[in-house]
Amino acid sequence: MIPLSNAKAGKQVKILSIDAGSGLQRRLADMGLTTGLNVKVVGSQRPGSVVLDVRGSRLALGRGISNKILVEPVS
């Protein structure tokens, strides 16, 4: 179990928990990011911030929020 901010580019990860207020959680869900979902880390070029493939769309997350999302690698 690692924070999303530490996930490597090109890896598939499963979202375990999102530690955010209900407003932000809901907004992430509206954009497709829900717990239990497998997502691919498309890029993590900038320290801590990531670009994810979420249900086919590219979602960019800043460092603040990607630190609060826990994931586990999917083989």
Binding site: R26, V42, R46
Partner: protein
């Protein structure tokens, strides 16, 4: 908005995710018959257009781009309220075929509202290029609504979607929609709530199942409706609270999240039936571009290079056209100068032709600037720029999202300040509004071109670019200062979709650019024209000089303590381009020789010109901007704050440039 529904008129609403191609479809449908205004009471852009198809009058409303229909953002509330209260005949839901799963989430919510929906399956070309096979007929069958494939960017399928929408509007078949099954526990609570809701007048608002779902999602707007009606409403809310407590015990998560999961669950099942993807997806061109553009070391330099290129291009392409316009106005002004009586000749040549000419000469610049900005926006680069800038913005206590309004500020502060609505955090939003006027808008360009051309001929591109850099730097410093001193507290997190890069549609780009240029021209024809004539009149009766002389001592430490400079600045508050028009009127020469005249008559050095350019950039924004600040913040206090802080900042900067510069030169 009541519509008289006759057989031959239909109202359509376009709903869809941001970047799904709504604007392209709207342009394809309505062509030039568009009206852009604001939704009542708010400043979210409202676009409506009309067309006639097979003898039917069709009105089209372009709803704001949204991911969902909750009450979390103004855009979502507007889209939803329009569907509920204006009751369009058909909602055209535009869906990105290359990003179907996420896009269908909004579709599900529209279907749960049981309104007539026609799905426009857009970007079929991109889906095809990725080897996605979509079973359109099966999708239509599973959703229970017509699905029309199209490529809005190339105006393909527009006729088909129109026919499907008309057919849907005219059909009498009861709208089935979709009643998603949320599982036994939730369904029991929904039924309980529905029973309570139908006994209240709120049930007239909309279908009760939808209201019940919204209550379980803890939707503020719907809850307010129940609070408004007193005891009966309170009873419903009590049931809601019990249901929520029960459901979160059973499911281990908030009902709102649980509902979202259920919708995605349904969509996930549906996707298996209708979509075939290649087993391993090749890395898209978009991703490969992003590897470079978002790179930790290259991201910011690339962004800076793009901005620099944009201004170089704008400037070098427009300067021959500007020369051409200037010589035309110059000749025109000479031919009217001798008209008698003398005052009329002066009014025509110094006032109207001189003043307006200097302003009209900047149409090519405005045109090219907006063209470049809209290409960047359509191409998808803007959201990358926001992401790249997020870390830096975070450091000054702002959100990467604030960067989009700031960049739009290069065009015009008015839409830029309005764009700050996309920032959820109220503190971030206010700070963004306060510093946006520091970004150098198109109307400042005339001042730069005039002075940079006359005083820095070899380096004018660089000097103009330095003004933009100065504006950005001050905006960032001030934002940091405001965030540290006035608005302490966490800024919100960066979450943004990066749409795939695409070639901007030529027609759409030109439509947008033309709308902006037209707005500039109509401003030139009204406010600027009146201001220029008023200025000429005051100048003619000799009232300008005393005003200027009264103020000018303030600017002496900045090197431009002449009354002409002060007068131009005073009138520049009506619109920054008027600074140039005012000089034109005072010296009675047109733009072509104005720079040289200023140098000769006011005895300015390049240093003074530079300080004056900085002053023009930073000092009190134009009245249109101030009115927007007032409307957006709803506060006279903050509007007054903008007036004074920008003036003080401008004065300090101009004085610093002049004094430090003088020391360095000597």
């Amino acid at each position: 908005m009541p519509f008289i529904k006759t057989k031959n008129s239909i109202t359509l609403a376009l709903a869809g995710n941001p970047n799904a191609g709504k604007t392209s479809l709207f342009n394809n449908l309505t062509g030039s018959k568009q009206h852009v205004g604001n939704w009542p009471g708010v400043t979210v852009e409202k676009k409506e257009g009309s067309l006639k198809h097979k003898g039917i009058d069709i009105k089209v409303f372009d709803l704001p781009g949204v991911y969902s229909l909750t009450a979390y953002s103004m855009d979502e509330i507007i889209a939803r309220d329009f569907i509920i209260s204006s009751k369009p005949d058909v909602v055209i839901n535009i869906v990105d075929a290359s990003n179907l799963e996420r896009n269908l989430y909004l579709t599900m919510q529209l279907l749960e509202m049981k309104v007539k929906v026609v799905v426009a399956l857009n970007m079929m070309d991109i889906a095809r290029s990725r080897d996605y096979h979509i079973d359109v007929d099966e999708l239509s069958r599973l959703l229970g609504v017509p699905v029309v494939p199209l490529v809005a960017a190339h105006n393909q399928g527009t006729e088909d979607i129109l026919n499907a929408a008309i057919a849907a509007a005219r059909s009498d078949i009861k709208v089935e929609g979709i009643d998603l099954n949320y599982g036994q526990e939730a369904e029991e609570e929904i039924t309980k709530l529905e029973k309570a809701i139908v006994t209240t007048p709120v049930s007239h608002l909309f279908i009760s199942r939808w209201l019940a779902l919204k209550l379980l999602e803890d939707d503020e707007r719907i809850i307010k409706q129940f609070i408004k009606i007193g005891i009966a409403g309170e009873e419903v809310l009590r049931i809601k609270d019990k249901s929520l407590a029960h459901l979160s015990r059973v499911h281990g998560k908030e009902a709102g999240i649980f509902i979202t999961d259920a919708r995605y669950g349904f969509i996930g099942g549906l996707m298996k039936d209708i979509l075939e993807k290649p087993p391993t997806e090749k890395k898209t061109l978009s991703d490969r571009i992003d590897d470079v553009v978002l790179n930790n070391w290259l991201g910011i330099p690339i962004f800076a290079a793009i901005l620099f290129g944009l201004f170089q291009l704008t400037f070098s392409l427009s300067s021959p056209i500007i020369d051409w316009i200037n010589s035309g106005f110059s000749r025109l002004s000479q031919s009217t100068a001798d008209i008698s009586p003398e005052w009329l000749g002066s009014l025509l040549s110094d006032g109207i032709i001189g003043g307006l000419g200097t302003v009209v000469a900047f149409v090519p610049v405005i045109f090219l600037l907006y063209l470049c900005l809209s290409i960047l926006e359509y191409s998808g680069y803007f959201s990358r720029a926001a992401f790249v800038m997020d870390r830096l913005m975070h450091r000054i206590g702002l959100h990467g999202r604030s960067f989009v309004p700031l960049v739009l500020g290069f065009g015009c502060s008015v839409p830029a300040i309005m764009a700050a609505r996309t920032i959820d955090n109220p503190r971030d939003r206010l700070v963004t509004i306060l510093v946006t006027p520091l970004m150098s808008c198109g109307a400042r360009m005339p001042v730069y071109i005039l002075l940079a051309g006359a005083f820095f001929s070899a380096y004018q591109g660089l000097v103009i670019f330095s003004m933009y850099v100065l504006g950005i730097t001050l905006a960032i410093l001030l934002a940091w200062f405001f965030r540290k001193v006035i608005f302490k507290g966490e800024s919100s997190h960066f979450v943004m979709e990066l749409p795939p890069y695409r070639l901007p549609p030529v027609a759409g780009i030109f439509t947008y650019t033309w709308q902006q240029v037209r707005a500039f021209l109509s401003r030139a024809g009204t406010i600027i024209f009146l201001a220029v004539v008023a200025f000429w009149f005051l100048n003619y009766i000799g009232a300008i000089e005393p005003i200027g002389r009264f103020i000018s001592p303030i600017f002496a430490p900045a090197g431009f303590g002449q009354w002409q400079a002060s007068s131009a600045l005073v009138f520049g508050i009506l619109g920054k381009e008027i600074v140039v028009g005012a000089f034109g009127t005072m010296f009675g020469v047109s733009e072509g020789t104005l720079g040289a005249t200023i140098a000769a008559q006011l005895g300015w050095t390049p240093l003074v010109a530079f300080a004056f350019m900085a002053m023009s950039l930073i000092y009190t924004p134009c009245v249109a901007t101030l009115a927007t600040v007032k409307r957006e913040t709803g506060s006279l206090k903050w509007t007054g704050f903008v007036i004074f802080y920008t003036f003080a900042l401008a004065w300090i900067t101009a004085v610093a440039i002049y004094q430090i510069g003088s020391l360095l030169i000597s």
